[in-house]
Subunit: 339 residues, 2 copies
DNA sequence: CTGAAAGCGCTTACAG
DNA sequence: CTGAAAGCGCTTACAG
């Protein structure tokens, strides 16, 4: 590896001059003549010089790096978010340092330590919806500029950009009620996460607003995560079909595929016998047969606002805490029909 | 930020001692008494000391970091690969530095520069199947230890771990031919990538082995990428249905969903009228109705071997170049039937 | 316009 | 067992 000193020696100039000519360093006062700039550039190119980023960052502390902690399982779901974040930060000359974790508190803690060890003060957390959801936010206290995607489960104030889970869920339930559904089953989880809480609340509020009674069993809490295996789906259906549901609100595409398949085995058709709404949009929801009515969370907009906020705060000495909810929209498919 | 020097001063010992007691540094000869170790640890904890990783890496050059360059669009497809890589490297005390790109030569080049600038010599590339596929591998020459997932398009020898696209594709075509299909259409792309090439070759070889003639149009080359929008699917079907195909080999789940939907609009059923095989497995392929026969590339095994090889090579001064093909397997669904 | 010097926060080889 | 010193490859403030 060629160093800056070697370039300086080969070009017969000082290291300050090379720093200025090649790396934009050299402080405010260092000037280099046009002649030397050319010679330095030529020498560097000839030697194949590459600046050492570790040394650069150690020396001047300038930080244009944003840490990202993301769960590898979210990757599909958050695909739009990540690629938008990547695009926006990259085009503004910023870099991402990505910590990929999977459902592991220890891994998240380790990556947090790494980011702090690299003196990275800005971080976006997309991995905090677990059974241990409330243990994650405290890990992010040491950062000057932390931002969560989705509202974190914590007392302390953090900036976040979150889907407005309540509003979209309310809209979905309202939509079903207006189509005369009277027995909607919502496949919640037994996790105590923010989204699950407010969805249950929206379920309740919408029913109340429309004067429709429901039994507690219509909010299904038996499952830990997605109902995305045939076995889990069988159990789920055995549990809830006795309630004679006319609509189901479920998670992702896989769950819904299994659901449709398993309903068919029981001679139940979607939407004729049971309507279905998906809680998360996924690419391909409109390609299915029937196409699925889904809650589009507007992830691209979430990512856009997240990047804007974190970059703004990265400039401030005392970042301001903002809580931003992004409205989603119900994408109407063929999976719901009037009763 | 508390530094090592401050801990040393507060504990009344030398920096070497702190380095040894806290960070496992201090060289071979530095010894610290039990008494001092305790005091140093206590002091560090009290002050909230965090080692600066930049300084550590700059000073001792020890590298336990593996770079990864991955396309954000691959994320779904390569989800299994990435999470397996993450798991295996993380549990061996290694760290990943992930560069997330999207279909952009410039971004890949920039991330390569970054990795080299951080003095990272080991890198896994999962982003080299583009229209500019052959421009990517040269970027990775400067690394001591580069490894590609999927065979790269290049003359130079690189290590890679790749799906055995040829074998699995041959198996799929053979399967269809044995089920008496005689007009198989393969939705290739107009990209000149390794996988596309050998698939076309396998298509040819299998037909020849079974003495089945085919016309060139059965290898559809009009598309740039996946046929994953309704418009592209309409055009594709308009183009190939006049050939009276009895089977289609297509890309991912979205493409296949659109295909089934658009075939139905034309009163063609899967598999009764047309059989379908998917070229890439995706979670949910077996949940669909009908479930889809897919080529499972065995990504987890690919990831496992990739990590093993790159970690092995990271130890060697002169890494050995290995070319590893992983056999996949045909997962039989309901989307193919005997003609 | 130019370069010598001190510093970033860690290392390790070396001398006690 | 212990610490002073030189070094990693860059910075920038400063003095010419």
């Amino acid at each position: 590896m060629i160093t800056l000193s070697e370039v300086a020696e080969a070009a017969g100039v000082s290291r300050s001059a090379v720093s200025k000519a090649l790396l934009g360093g050299g402080g405010k006062t260092t000037k280099v003549s046009e002649k030397n700039i050319i010679r330095i550039r030529e020498t560097a190119a000839r030697l194949g010089y590459r600046p050492n980023l570790l040394a650069q960052r150690l020396a001047n502390k300038r930080q244009d790096i944003i840490g990202v902690i993301i769960d590898s399982q979210c990757c599909g779901l958050y695909n739009n978010i990540m690629s938008t974040i990547e695009h926006l930060t990259f085009s503004s000359g910023c870099r991402l340092q990505v910590g990929l974790v999977h459902d592991s508190y220890d891994a998240i803690k380790k990556y947090v330590d790494d980011l702090l060890g690299y003196n990275i003060q800005s971080v976006i957390c997309l991995a905090h919806y677990y059974s241990f959801a409330e243990q994650i936010p405290p890990l992010f206290k040491p950062f000057k500029n932390a931002l969560f995607i989705s509202k974190p489960m914590t007392e302390k104030k953090f900036s976040f950009v979150s889907p407005d889970y309540y509003a979209i869920f309310y809209e979905a339930v309202e939509y079903l009620l207006k189509l005369n559904h009277r027995r909607i089953v919502f496949a919640k989880t037994n996790y105590d996460t923010y989204d699950a809480r407010v969805r249950a609340q929206a379920f309740h509020d919408a029913h109340r607003a429309y004067g429709v009674e429901y039994v507690e069993e219509q909010i299904y809490k038996e499952n830990a995560g997605e109902i995305d295996t045939p076995e889990l789906m069988d159990r789920f259906l055995s549990d809830i079909l006795p309630l004679k549901p006319d609509a189901l609100i479920l998670g992702n595409g896989i769950a819904i595929n299994w659901c449709i398949r398993k309903l068919r085995e029981r001679n139940l058709r979607v939407p004729e016998d049971i309507s279905i709404i998906g809680m998360d949009d996924w690419s391909g929801s409109q390609a299915m047969t029937p196409s699925i009515t889904v809650m589009n969370n507007n992830y691209r907009e979430i990512a856009r606002q997240a990047v804007q906020l974190i970059q703004e705060n990265a400039k401030n000495e005392t970042p301001q805490i903002k809580e931003i909810f992004i409205r989603g929209q119900l994408v109407l498919g063929e999976s719901c029909t009037r009763k």
